[in-house]
């Protein structure tokens, strides 16, 4: 039987198909309950107006503060010299996204039409479904794209397998799955597997469909390390209001956004920025490190102090990739828990065997180069396992202590998959985690 994650997806799909959505007419026909009298609405509107006015008054000083900032016309630039490569992650990181992906079957049987998914926007799901119109429980073809390095046999619930060649690639036919699904799987490129799954269709038909599948991989997105920067002094000089002692940290917009929640949606997350502040100032100024343009200000509350200064960091990570202090600020240790963080790639983390097969990552836009922070929490008590119920009649694992591993996508911005693969268990964490080479250095 397949992993629970895949079964849940099929279960939810089936349940959703079995019920009609709520429609507007149904809503309009429902009897209103406890509708508020109009005078309450007027009162609420008045309160809202007052709040808006007060908010404006509060916000205004900040706006005024920003208007006194002047930008020098011609900033001098400096390139941060390359530091020792050592164990650090690559100088520039390029990852493949789902943007631009295409999946299309050229050889569907007559009468089959696309009923679920979008061939030009596979998105996180990576699944297309084709069925014939009408009839109860009609034949079905599912096309699935996986970002995975798992053996092909694990991508299907079949009980018997035999090798085939699909479009010149080694593939596998799986049969014997509950419900009579026959699946043809093949690896079309390193880390990308395609599966054609046929329901109520003979193997020859499914193989014909597989031979006619066209797949276009997604576009790539680069996280750079080196670009020309204005100097720290130039950055500080951009902010006339900070005449006293001040500091400037070189980082990227993506990292600032991750730590502060503020968004500059029109700019790339890899945009290098200087974050300039005075020690006691309530806010810091964000300056485009390439042009010297002031981009705005952010509150200095909490996590902003975790920004790593890339101009002095010992081990360079690409801009837009969270550093150790930044990821620990976002995922702080619970009291009483020992937390360690190592950066690695999805491929290397997968090799440890920890992480439940990266099923969530398989559903999203992950490729082999995705940098992940592996956060290992260990506790002397059972806090990570105490909610796990054992099957009836079987004792729970009562080894002393418990552990939890969360692997989070280290990237920021639109490429961030919101990946958070988690494993947990009783006793000590798997030894394989200790062998992970930390790409972020000490």
């Amino acid at each position: 039987m397949t992993e629970p994650e895949d079964q849940i997806r099929r279960y939810v799909d089936a349940v959703a198909r079995s019920r009609r959505p709520v429609d507007l007419a149904e809503i309009a026909g429902r009897r209103p309950r406890g509708r508020r009298p109009r005078r309450v609405l007027v009162g609420a509107a008045a309160v809202l107006c007052v709040a808006l006015v007060v908010g404006f008054v509060i916000v205004e000083p900040g706006r005024h503060h920003r208007t006194i900032v002047e930008v020098s016309p011609s900033p001098s630039t400096v390139s941060i010299p390359s530091k020792s490569a050592g164990p650090c992650v690559a100088d520039a990181l390029t990852v493949t996204s789902t943007h631009g992906e295409r999946l299309h079957p050229d050889a569907l049987p007559p009468g089959f039409v696309l009923t679920e998914g979008d061939e030009t926007d596979l998105g996180a799901r990576g699944q297309l479904t084709y069925t014939t119109r009408g009839g109860n429980d009609p034949p079905r073809v599912e096309l699935l794209r996986y970002h995975t390095y798992q053996p092909l046999a694990q991508l299907s619930a079949g009980t018997s397998h035999h090798d085939v060649t699909v479009q010149g690639h080694a593939g596998l036919v799986s049969d014997g799955a509950p419900g009579g699904f026959i699946a043809v799987a093949w690896t079309t490129a390193p880390g990308i597997a395609l599966v054609v799954s046929g329901y109520k269709l003979p193997e020859t038909e499914v193989r014909t469909i597989a031979d006619g599948v066209r797949y276009t991989p997604g576009t790539t997105f680069g996280y750079p390390v080196h670009v020309g920067f204005i100097t720290r002094e130039d950055a500080i000089a951009r902010v006339d209001s900070l005449q006293s002692a001040h500091a400037a940290v070189l980082s990227s917009l993506g990292e600032v956004e991750a730590l502060t929640g503020r968004s500059w949606s029109e700019l790339s997350v890899v945009t290098p920025v200087w974050v300039v502040s005075a020690p006691a100032a309530p806010s810091a100024f964000v300056i485009d490190a390439s042009s010297g343009t002031l981009l705005g200000s952010v509150a200095r509350r909490g996590k902003l102090d975790a920004l790593t200064d890339r101009s002095t960091a010992g081990c360079e990570l690409p801009l837009g990739v969270l550093t150790r202090s930044e990821v620990l600020a976002l995922h702080p240790a619970e009291p009483g828990v020992k937390l360690t963080a190592k950066m690695t790639t999805l491929t290397d983390f997968a090799a440890t065997g920890v992480g439940a097969g990266f099923t969530q990552c398989m559903l999203t836009a992950c490729d082999a180069n995705v940098p992940v922070w592996v956060l290992v929490s260990t506790a002397t008590d059972q806090r990570f396992t105490d909610e796990i119920r054992g099957p009836a009649g079987r004792p729970r694992n009562t080894a002393p202590g418990s552990w939890q591993v969360i692997a989070v996508d280290a990237r920021t911005g639109p490429q961030d998959t919101d990946l958070a693969t988690v494993s947990l268990g009783a006793g000590s964490p798997p030894a394989a985690l200790g062998a992970i080479k930390d790409l972020a250095g000490p």
Binding site: M1, Q7, P178, S423, G425
Partner: protein
């Protein structure tokens, strides 16, 4: 929504847009909480509430999270009467699904079930689930992990992590 508004006015259009955007996600969330039938009923109730209180809803930043709670509140009496907490689909019309899955999902604590069903069944991000429940993404990840661990044991699927 005001009674005297024309059904084809800009407000009606705005509500239709809102409805089209919110309904599938709200139904997914409430179905994960209560099962398909009660989830659908709670969705309809919550959306009816949003129709009645459109003046408030249209400016709300996280309407799904709000309506998720409205749906719970508005079906409380019905749920008490029927005794439904989560009604699993015991005969799922889907191949490759273990028939024990529905029961195993029903055994999960509520938050674990909603988290794991939204993440894996509906492709919600951890951040979206966190916003729905008002918890952190780390907590969502923990709920998901615990739920999967339970499901693996219940369905007797071999874990690959030695847990």
């Amino acid at each position: 929504m005001d009674d005297d508004e024309g059904s084809d006015g800009p407000e009606a259009t705005a509500f239709e847009d809102f409805f089209a955007r919110v309904e599938p996600r709200l139904r997914a969330a409430l179905t994960s909480l209560y099962g398909a039938d009660m989830g659908r009923e709670a969705t309809a109730e919550a959306l009816a509430w949003s129709y009645e209180h459109w003046d408030r809803m249209r400016s709300m930043e996280h309407p799904i999270a709000y309506l998720y709670r409205v749906g719970q509140t508005r079906t409380r009496r019905l749920r008490r009467r029927t005794g439904i907490t989560f009604a699993p689909e015991l005969a799922v019309p889907a191949p490759e699904v273990d028939p024990r899955l529905g029961g195993a999902l029903a055994e999960l604590p509520e938050r674990q079930r909603v988290a794991v069903m939204l993440v894996y069944g509906n492709d919600w991000s951890h951040g979206e689930v966190a916003a729905l429940m008002g918890i952190t993404t780390s907590t969502v990840a923990t709920h998901v992990a615990r739920a999967l661990e339970h499901l693996r044991r219940s369905l007797e699927v071999a874990a690959d992590d030695g847990a």
